[in-house]
């Protein structure tokens, strides 16, 4: 009984000390901060995506027959230019070359609307990796039709890998300035 009373007394003294300390500290902080005026506003924003996806990225050539693939803007931002990293393998004894053409519509029997399409970059030699770029604008969801045309002797298999690449901000649509 006596012990309990003593503990209560000690607790009361400790609580009072903490309260006194708190009362002493709070005015000090308030004095240092002074009065402040504050105003807030909020704004939501979503960033788009940019990317070009090829239906086929690897082609094997054993003859001089051209092959095609389709590259589609699968991002949410329109593109002003697109690049392709093209690697041509080097078969033994032979050095074939490759040329890449683009067409705004699908190729039909190796022709682009009756023509040859537009060449992207130069002639690509076997055993090299080259980045070629076109400045064709491509809207969201739009496609570009590519044709890889081989030249030279094809006794052994030559592999071409064609990887689309889009780099921001240079290859995206022109920046937009919004006032609201």
């Amino acid at each position: 009984m006596h012990g309990s009373t003593h503990r209560r007394a000690v607790r009361t003294v400790a609580t009072a000390a903490v309260l006194l300390l708190g009362v002493g500290v709070v005015p000090t902080i308030a004095h240092a901060a002074g009065i402040g005026g504050r105003a807030t506003g909020s704004e939501a924003v979503t960033v788009g995506t940019w990317g070009l996806t090829a239906a086929t990225t690897s082609m094997s050539f054993t003859t001089n027959t051209a092959q095609t693939t389709t590259a589609t803007n699968t991002g949410s931002i329109a593109l002003s230019a697109e690049s392709y990293v093209v690697t041509v393998s080097k078969p033994f004894f032979f050095t074939p070359t490759m040329t890449v053409y683009e067409c705004p519509v699908a190729w039909v029997s190796g022709a682009c609307s009756g023509g040859t399409g537009t060449q992207i970059g130069g002639t690509l030699t076997a055993g090299t990796t080259t980045t070629i770029t076109t400045t064709t604008s491509l809207g969201v969801g739009a496609s570009l039709y590519l044709e890889v045309v081989p030249a030279g002797v094809f006794i052994l298999t030559t592999t071409v890998t064609l990887t689309p690449e889009v780099t921001s901000p240079a290859q995206l649509r022109a920046p937009v300035r919004t006032m609201q």
């Binding site: 402040g36 909020s42 990317g51 931002i77 889009v166 921001s168 995206l172 300035r177 919004t178 609201q180």
Partner: protein, 220 residues
């Protein structure tokens, strides 16, 4: 039985004596206090004081003010909003104001987790209201915040050159707040890099804060 009754009577008489003693002591103490009260003197003075207020009000300058950017932002895009900052309190503000920007959720747009990329904020003051259609100022422009990464604004940064808000109460600053995006990254065959700002969303909260003028010591 008889003994018990006798004892009880004795206890009651002791109780009466104790009560009587306490009453006597109380009367004696009151009398003493009365003597002391009679000897005290009081002097009074009055001083009236009113505390000032410091209110910063944000409102639209032209257009809709802070709102949502409805499109998909691309690197290099800027979204400009036009707001008024008005000191409506009765105290002048100190020579300075801060702007803090916080994103919710926090992601690569606001955290700086992709080095050199993310959202940026620029603020410019115009001496008159902005022209919304062209985003131009027909008066004098004063840059108050150069382009700053939002990732560096979770701790408020000081705005500069804002005399209209510093001078006195009732002053208005016409401020253009420009939100931009910096991102230099390549997507390969439609796939963004592992560390990217693409496809992210956040809601930014802008907090403008002004502090009261320095305290004044008056002798009168």
């Amino acid at each position: 039985m008889s003994t018990h009754r006798h004892t009880s009577k004795k206890e009651r008489s002791y109780g009466k004596l104790a009560v009587a003693g306490l009453l006597t002591t109380s009367v004696a103490l009151l009398g003493t206090a009365g003597v002391y009260a009679g000897l005290s003197a009081t002097a009074t003075g009055a001083e009236q004081v009113s505390s000032g207020s410091l209110n910063l009000v944000l409102s639209n300058d032209v257009g809709v003010g802070f709102s949502n950017f409805t499109g998909k932002m691309a690197p290099g895009d800027t979204d400009n909003v036009y707001v008024n900052l008005n000191n409506t309190g009765s105290l002048a503000s100190a020579a300075g104001m801060t702007l803090g920007v916080a994103g919710n959720p926090v992601n690569a747009l606001t955290s700086g987790s992709v080095p050199g990329e993310g959202l940026t904020v620029t603020a410019t003051q115009c001496s008159v209201a902005w022209t919304l259609a062209t985003g131009t100022c027909s008066g004098t422009t004063t840059p108050i915040l150069t382009t700053t990464q939002v990732s560096g604004m979770s701790t408020p940064v000081a705005l500069s050159n804002i005399p209209a808000l510093v001078a006195a109460t009732g002053q208005v600053a016409h401020v253009q707040v420009s939100l931009g995006l910096v991102a230099t990254e390549s997507s390969t065959n439609g796939v963004p890099p592992a560390a990217t700002v693409q496809g992210l969303s956040t809601t930014l909260t802008y907090t403008f804060t002004e502090l009261q003028r320095t305290g004044v010591a008056t002798n009168q």
